[in-house]
Symmetry: C2
Amino acid sequence: MTRKIRLGAFLPGGGQHIASWRHPDQPADGAVNFDFHRQLAQTAERGLFDAYFLADGLAASVGGTSEGGPARVAGFEPVTLFAALAPLTTHLGFIATASTTYEEPYNTARKFASLDLISQGRAGWNVVTTATEAAARNFNLDRQFPHAYRYKRAAEHVEVVRKLWDSFEDDIFIRDKASGDFYDRDKLHPADHKGEHFKVQGPLNVPRSPQGHPVIVQAGQSEDGRALAAATAEVIFTAHQHLSTAQEFYRDIKSRARELGRNPDHILIMPGVAPFVGRTDEEAREKYDALTSLIRDEDGVSLLNGLTGGTLDLTGYDLDAPLPPAPPTEGMKSRQALIRQIADENDFTIRQLFQWVATARGHYTIVGSVSRIADVLQEWFENEGADGFNILPPWLPTGLNDFVDLVIPELQRRGLFRTEYEGRTLRENLGLPFPVNRHAAARAAAQAAE
Amino acid sequence: MTRKIRLGAFLPGGGQHIASWRHPDQPADGAVNFDFHRQLAQTAERGLFDAYFLADGLAASVGGTSEGGPARVAGFEPVTLFAALAPLTTHLGFIATASTTYEEPYNTARKFASLDLISQGRAGWNVVTTATEAAARNFNLDRQFPHAYRYKRAAEHVEVVRKLWDSFEDDIFIRDKASGDFYDRDKLHPADHKGEHFKVQGPLNVPRSPQGHPVIVQAGQSEDGRALAAATAEVIFTAHQHLSTAQEFYRDIKSRARELGRNPDHILIMPGVAPFVGRTDEEAREKYDALTSLIRDEDGVSLLNGLTGGTLDLTGYDLDAPLPPAPPTEGMKSRQALIRQIADENDFTIRQLFQWVATARGHYTIVGSVSRIADVLQEWFENEGADGFNILPPWLPTGLNDFVDLVIPELQRRGLFRTEYEGRTLRENLGLPFPVNRHAAARAAAQAAE
């Protein structure tokens, strides 16, 4: 089987571009409109996307820290939203974001296991440490934990969750009505975890789904983030403006994984791409200009602050001057570096910077014809820049419809993308291995040694 | 409008009676079968039930503490399950259980607000403190917090959640595409909570649903539990074997509420009732005997331990002897007292005790014809014993179908139950008031005073 491009769809109901809610095509109430999300999920499934992906934060985006623009001040919690969408779809995966800093592993393990069971094996967990001061203040803290601490806690949190996901062996259930034997007690296992941050006995009270475990996804790009991702992630969501940096990242992660004894093919690198799709380059450019014209200054300033975890408040600065120097920060190091890199490389003023990142928050924006977009995706895919992409349609539903109706057929014509789903679970479609239950594996190993 | 009986349906997919999974009618995998839950929800809605109700625990029911019988060792997490069922129904409410001890108020507020938004105002939160040692060991503790501490924390947790649910005033959203004004910043409010157990800044990042707040439900019957319920609950789920104790409870709660300045009509008392419905009393008795015959000794012993929070392990005792004396315990005081009362009043052996409670765990079991069951419900409803009932069908789907097809028409004939839903939200159907946003109320009061 030839290698195929994997595709995630980043579909916040409030739109990707910070002014997208003002676009005539997009419902102004999209962020809290369940039926609109249903429509997006069904379109993504028609386009044979691997998964619907949602970011998340544990604080309202208000005032000077509104990363998503005002339309994202409120919305659905991702796991409940995806649970509601799961029965309305049949093959689409659902990758929800949840925090290792402000949730307990038993609760994390449980809600994802439940989503995985409801969807019959289509769940993924985007592991984040949550890097805003506003979130810390919603969870009994005056300020957030240091970056390094959050990542250590995250690694242990993921470890505990995975142990809990192996509480039930796959063949534990007997369910013999005649004898009254419901399950095999020897195939139910505690986690018995005692670590630096967590003490969790287990077992979990949700069994494994048809895919074994939800898929583990991560997005950190700092040193701590790369180390965690190489050790634990199966999909990595990443942001690059150039093939060269994407390649550096791709090779670094694959090499780290190899050193840790992992098969590098089992870590899929998926940069974010925001495509303005036209039948011609000119048509695409017109779409870009139309959206950019809808950004208000205050929303642009708020965006830059939100993107950097509330550490870059440019209120009162001359928007037509360059970016001032950065203070040291514990939050979102890699994001701040990326934003500054974009400004430096392009010699942008503050205004030009927020106009550029308003679409995709540091992800790669492509404005062009169908063949131009397909060319870029193909180039990155075939040259160690990407195993697939997270598509961030700038506005909805049109940006998604354009991609599904125009770009996906072109990728299929080039033999780069599936023409039907390969399997029923997210893992099967992504080509990721089934995680054999650790206790079943240990028993099999013991028996083989006898 | 005459007062009507309110009805909740307690529908664990694994069945209510601990041996129900062995019944020929019930799917043996019911606890983890999403489609079965869909069928149950749709039947409850056909029966015009106010709400689908699910209990919850934060530990697997294993070994000596399996309250629900072996078929409930694993299942769905209630909020994700209800989110998935919400779009497949139109009027049915969803009351999910969540813990004030092992979750953070920001997360609690958020998941219920999201469920409420997805269901367009049909969510309820059954507030529990979680009283098992097994749960404590899943959340970094060696043993659980004392009873009184849990209830103090619970009261503050509910207070914080309610503040967060008022973050957005109902008319906050402007969504004017022309001007770019998305919302009125003056109508977004922090919680600014600083208490003994929690410090939460807010605002929440989910707006209010059409019913304002999810309905608050509670079930505690201890002194601490009654005090909390009278102060904060809108629906109380309670367990009584006799009209006399139900009346004592009913009058006590209504009187406490009145003393706290609440309208006692805005606290609905709903005892649990497990009906074995027959066309005749004999047919009902046959159904009861058939289920009882399916209980294994080990599952009966495990049930009693589970019901008392793991503090009554009778393994090794003579099952045909009376119950031994109780040790002091921090967990589930009111439940243990209730179980002992049943044993004492009926002069039960251990075996007879578990056979009797196997159906309904201390709730009232009625074995009889349609008219006998309707008579009991009517008597309690008309004599200050109940405002409604939580129906616990002993096995599924038959026990639910029997109630919907036989008992509900009889209640309707007597004018005691609705013939169509009164409204679209859970509050509207329960006849509970819309909680005016506290900030909007304060502004209105200030304006009136000017």
